[in-house]
Subunit: 345 residues, 2 copies
């Protein structure tokens, strides 16, 4: 077989797998164990974009016992020591077992267990792997969960976190100096080293997300990273969003509004804006309307919008972002339930 | 869905997987990467049955660069420390991630990489997993590689090592006191503790092997474990063995002979016997005939039959056992080659 034929064959094998995965997920409400297959959510974004904060609120709202949380960064191929002599950062797919991550995402999506590798962010070492059986909801957060077509085929809902660089740098500086023991200089040098790979591998995932979340200060009002942030959520018509156009107007003077815009690539998206100082009475009405659209019995969770676990202050843009993700998780689950009882009857 | 229906469904999912696996292997000469899929050999047997000795000779004969060797014992669920407070030994499937082993065997059989867990027999600890891409031949040796139907469906050839208990105890005592730092007392206590699970989980695998290998002294001649051992190979008609009936007679006075017998379960098997003192001229003729039947260009490997890597003495029963496995590995590979070029043309 020629090189070309070999490569075509490998590609068609690969393409088959993506299609197979989509077909399997679409055609099957039940997972390997006979129960409903899990709902899979990807939260992709660069280091310091707030992946953990978003995930924590979802886990609390759904109940941690219903959630399996997987860090895509556990698939690092090299430990911190080994990386010192290597020409790439953890942002590079070469620095990760992407093929193994794909296998594990496929297994989880079909309700099968995995033996997940473990990367310790504190020590920078790779350790004993961990046996994981997927629960009702699987949240996969990390640098590259949406990097390949096959990985993307495993998710029901995908999110890309896309804050402006100055916000991300401020967040990353705060975390890495306080929680991971780096100096400010080290963090800044690391950011500089990572930038080319961030551009090449992380940011392209934005194009594949169902929802793009951007927390940002409003520059026209002279706000900075220290002010409470507003949020803009881009909702791509790749999944069924709540019917926000019946709830929100497009008057940009309103603290919450919805605008039909073209994204950077020219494709249509709905852009929801939630102002940092939005009146809780206004946001609460919108939240209730979104929640009611789900038609579930349980009340709207009160734990949304917490910036950290100790704090009692509620951040409205964060709360609405988490609620929207919650909506999609519960909606996807309800649909599976329906499909499963249909096929039973 | 009732419990019964749920359980039926889970079982049918499971049964499907075995069939699917067999169908996939049978219908496909090529693996995930487009090249030929690997040939899979299982070597199952209790602790101290000589799995490593058999495997080492095969690896040397084929060339280590063509072989991927996988230890089924790497799938231990608990480390040595954790097992101290648990009511079972490593022989118990509960003490192993059998489902993960199945997944990995499926992947390897289809030419896909795995991230294999690592159990260190010296320290008794579980460590950083290892990325493995299957080469031409994958040899999986360990306690439980043939425990489940799905695992068995992944192999082209399967072997069970079945020495009499006194031989196994002598071998295990020698190894565990010399190489693993145990006292004789500890090994004997451990053997006693393991016996019920050995009977329940290890020995039943014998029934599923294509080849059962028994190295033993000839009791009628008053031989003991210290004498060179003879070998009896049971060849089940589950795979195509070389046509030994055209080479060997059934005269049990001959140093090598072939007898059609009923196995313990009443089913027909061919039993090849190689006497420990068989004349190398006789065995050499048989070996050449087996090798010629393969019709390959390369000469009969000279490295077979070494009891340990330092020794130059050749053990004829071991050499013939290894040759027979080699025959099956090469034959299976040749068949895939043929199937692949057929489908290419």
């Amino acid at each position: 077989m020629s090189d070309k034929a070999m490569s075509d064959k490998a590609m068609s094998d690969k393409a088959m797998s993506d299609k197979e995965m989509n077909a399997l997920r679409a055609g099957r409400a039940n997972g390997a164990g006979g129960g409903l297959r899990p709902i899979m959510l990807a939260i992709a974004g660069d280091s310091g974009t707030g992946k953990t904060t978003i995930t924590a609120g979802l886990a609390e709202a759904l109940g941690p016992e219903r959630i399996t949380s997987v860090g895509a960064d556990d698939y690092h191929r090299y430990d911190r020591e080994e990386r010192k002599s290597l020409p790439f950062t953890p942002l590079n797919p070469e620095c990760n077992y992407i093929d193994i991550m794909e296998q594990h995402l496929q297994n989880l999506a079909l309700g099968k267990p995995i033996l997940k590798p473990v990367y310790d962010h504190d020590t920078g070492k790779l350790g004993r792997p961990e046996y994981i059986e997927p629960r009702e909801f699987v949240i996969v957060e990390g640098l590259l969960p949406l990097h390949t077509e096959l990985a993307r085929a495993c998710f029901d809902v995908s999110v890309f976190l896309d804050p402006p660089e100055e916000i991300r740098i401020a967040w990353k500086l705060a975390r890495d100096t306080k929680k991971r023991g780096y100096t400010e200089d080290e963090v800044r040098q690391d950011l500089k080293k990572r930038e080319p790979e961030s551009e090449r591998f992380i940011r392209p995932q934005r194009a594949y997300a169902d929802i793009v979340v951007r927390f940002a200060p409003i520059e026209e009002r002279g706000q900075t990273a220290d002010d409470p942030l507003s949020a803009t959520l881009l909702l791509r018509p790749t999944i069924d969003h709540p019917e926000l156009h019946t709830i929100l107007g497009d008057d940009t003077n309103q603290a919450m509004h919805l605008k039909l815009i073209r994204d950077d690539d020219g494709k249509p998206v709905d852009a929801v804006h939630i102002h940092s100082h939005a009146d809780p009475e206004v946001t609460s009405k919108v939240e209730t309307a979104i929640w009611d659209e789900l038609g579930v019995d349980s009340p709207l969770p009160e734990s949304l919008g917490r910036l950290d676990s100790d704090s009692d202050t509620r951040d409205e843009p964060l709360a609405l972002t988490q609620l929207l993700l919650l909506y999609h998780l519960i909606q996807a689950r309800e649909r599976l339930s329906g499909a499963s009882s249909d096929s039973d009857g």
